[in-house]
């Protein structure tokens, strides 16, 4: 009896293509990395097309291990865009750094596959396995420049702390399974509907801890700055978007689905980590002089804002999360494209001071980066403002005014360091000019994402409608 393969077509495409590309890389001619990267991007686009072809109706397969609904399709589209864009940005980087190894696109495809499976996990076991597939691929990618001690350090740090988080997740899962007698999400929701044992609460908190580590929420964020700084820049660009979106989708699905009966128990934890992430993201970034570390703290802050939506926990809240993640995806991709374009005399630079006078030497790039920074700070009319607005509105509707106020205040603090970058670019004298003509699609990514961020205000309807519909499927609407 063959399981229904209809809902898993995009995942199958990615998996089979990754193995096929591996064979081509091993047995094909040398230096095929560029071709393989191109093919991998093509594969991701094909998967994206098939993904959009899946209708929003809920479908389960493999005995309920795997679920596809509007929510999953929405998150998977974001994940596929993130993977394709970061792969496109890495082609030029791989060539310039002399690190063209065919395993890169293959492992990246496997990481993407893990993220897709995370979004669709409908069982604690499939949750864990998909998370491991994604994490293991990312550990390898973080240590990709194995002759660079910082990259190796990043990979090792990520591996050790990630394993710890996986251990906590597993421990929590085993407690939950022990008290509920099932690992299926539907079964868990049913079992906790009849009463909540204390052990199950502890288990849920452990699961939440493990997932909070994966999205890098305070106080489980310590690895983020080091890993972001040490990992190869295009890989960091992927870290900042893909795994975060996938883990967030997983977190939302787990918390409002099987563990919805325990909302009273996990809510205080989510509120705390949300507030702590926003505060730490805002204050710790102020002192940074390395733009990759700055972006790491900035991403921690963004996780805090998105967690507000989860704390609200109803349909409006989840819609806010989804809108926030989509906008976050575009502004982060654009910013990382700009960071990748920062090179002096053929060498990558990462200091904020290296951006001095960018407006005079590279007006286009400076304008795009300024747009991203205004958006991240949440200044209207950029898209980032709307992302924050939707989660704050949801919080106020639910009566969580404190959280919304903390969010607004930390946005103001955060605006300081975002605007500092704009100030450095526009008002400082150029010290040393950045290289021209980075090319390689970086300009394309920057341009497209800047346009999206800039004009979202005029046509917000498609995204908001889609996010609303996706959130509705999670609540049985």
């Amino acid at each position: 009896m063959l399981p229904d393969l209809g809902p898993v077509v995009p995942e199958l495409i990615v998996a089979v293509a990754a193995m096929g590309l591996l064979m081509v890389g091993v047995f094909g001619r040398a230096n095929a990395t560029r071709t393989l990267c191109g093919l991998a991007i093509l594969v991701l686009f094909v998967a994206l097309v098939f993904e959009t072809g899946l209708t929003g109706t809920r479908a389960e397969t493999f005995g309920g291990m795997f679920v596809v609904d509007g929510f999953a399709v929405y998150a998977k589209i974001l994940v596929l865009i993130a993977a394709a864009a970061s792969l496109a940005m890495s082609i030029g980087w791989l060539r310039r750094e002399g690190a063209e190894r065919f395993e890169f696109p293959v492992i990246l495809l496997f990481a993407t596959l893990g993220m897709l499976m995370m979004v669709s996990a409908n069982n604690l076991i499939s949750l864990y396995l998909s998370l491991e597939l994604q994490s293991l691929s990312l550990y390898v990618l973080a240590a990709f420049q194995r002759d660079n001690s910082r990259s190796t350090e990043a990979g090792l740090k990520y591996f050790v702390l990630g394993s710890l988080a996986s251990g906590m997740l597993l421990y929590g899962s085993s407690l939950v399974y022990g008290f509920a007698g099932t690992t299926a999400f539907d079964g868990l929701a049913h079992a906790f509907g009849n009463g909540i044992p204390l052990g199950a609460t502890i288990g849920v908190i452990f699961v939440l801890t493990g997932l909070a580590f994966k999205v890098a929420a305070v106080p489980f964020h310590m690895w983020t700055p080091d890993v972001y700084e040490g990992a190869p820049t295009p890989v960091t660009a992927l870290f900042a978007v893909g795994p975060k979106i996938a883990a967030f989708a997983l977190l939302v699905r787990v918390m409002v689905g099987p563990f919805s009966a325990l909302t009273d128990q996990w809510l205080q934890v989510v509120v705390f980590i949300s507030a702590a992430s926003m505060i730490l993201g805002a204050f710790a970034a102020i002192a940074q002089s390395n733009i990759k570390r700055l972006m790491a703290y900035s991403s921690i802050g963004h996780v805090g804002y998105a967690l507000i939506g989860l704390a609200v926990g109803d349909q409006t809240g989840v819609r806010g999360v989804l809108i926030y993640l989509a906008i976050y995806l575009f502004m982060t991709l654009g910013t990382w494209a700009a960071i990748l374009a920062m090179r002096q005399k053929g060498r990558a630079v990462e200091g904020i001071s290296d951006l001095a006078g960018l407006a005079k030497t590279h007006p286009g790039m400076a304008l795009a980066l300024a747009i991203f920074m205004f958006s991240m700070a949440g200044i209207p009319p950029m898209a980032g403002f709307w992302g924050k607005l939707y989660v704050f509105m949801a919080a106020i509707d639910k009566g969580m005014v404190t959280l919304a106020v903390i969010g607004v205040l930390t946005s103001v603090v955060g605006a300081y360091y975002y605007l500092r970058i704009v100030k450095v670019m526009y008002f400082d004298e150029p010290a040393e000019v950045l290289d021209h003509g980075g090319g390689d699609g970086l300009g394309f990514v920057m341009g497209v994402t800047a346009l999206v961020i800039l004009f979202f205000t005029l046509i917000p309807a498609p995204l908001v409608t889609q996010a609303g519909a996706a959130a509705a499927t999670l609540f049985g609407g």
Binding site: M1, P3, A15, M19, L22, F62, G63, M65, F66, R101, E103, V106, I107, F110, L113, M117, I125, S126, L129, S130, E132, L133, L136, S137, Y139, V140, A143, F144, R146, G155, G181
Partner: protein, 204 residues
């Protein structure tokens, strides 16, 4: 029935005897060989209980792979077993205590399982009727039908681990000698042998 009982007692007696010998013989190679004997007898006990799949796995995995690996390790390492056994009496009380704790815990599990009000759902675990479905069949159904998704996902994880390990550690080293069979076969007599006339009594 009587035959089964005799076989059971023979197998368990040999199992226990070889188990004791594993930790008491002087020669580590002999210890590993007794370990293999113990595995075989345990496999026999499994067969006796109708768990033919476990029996085969025990022989294939433990005897075929693990014990042979032990043998290699024992032969490669120069272990002085006499020195290792020096502290035997000193560690005996701790070891006995741990053994006792394990025994009590086992008894506790047995008691709670057979006398306590265990979860009825757990007791009636979703195992098919052993009479109707052979256990190899039942395991296969679980792994390759019910949990095929997880099985494949685990396979992908292992594949990634393998690619990652190779990618992060394999280096193309220079200056090492590799065998090239084609190159060896293409060598001609002229390219590899030089004949010299050596004058008698003078050396080369």
């Amino acid at each position: 029935m009587i035959v089964q009982a005799i076989v059971f007692y023979v197998l368990s007696a040999v199992l226990i005897a070889s188990g004791v010998l594993v930790i008491s013989v002087r020669n580590p190679v002999h210890a590993v060989l007794f370990l293999i004997l113990a595995f075989f007898n345990a496999a026999g006990l499994f067969v006796l209980n109708g768990a033919e799949f476990l029996a085969m796995v025990l022989v294939v995995v433990y005897v075929g792979a693990v014990a042979v690996l032990f043998l290699f390790v024992v032969m490669l390492l120069d272990i002085n077993l006499l020195r290792m056994r020096e502290g035997f009496l000193r560690y005996l009380p701790t070891g006995a205590l741990i053994g006792l704790i394990l025994l009590i815990e086992l008894a506790g599990i047995y008691a709670s399982w057979s006398f306590g009000a265990a979860e009825p759902g757990l007791l009636a675990a979703p195992a098919p009727d052993p009479g109707a479905v052979p256990n190899t069949d039942a395991l296969g159904r679980l792994i390759y039908t019910d949990y095929i998704y997880l099985f494949q996902a685990a396979g992908l994880i292992l594949l990634v681990a393998m690619i990652g390990a190779i990618m992060l550690t394999l280096r193309a080293r220079s200056g090492i000698l590799r065998q090239s069979i084609a190159h060896q076969l293409l060598r001609s007599r002229a390219s590899s042998i030089e004949l010299r006339k050596v004058p008698r009594g003078e050396g080369v």
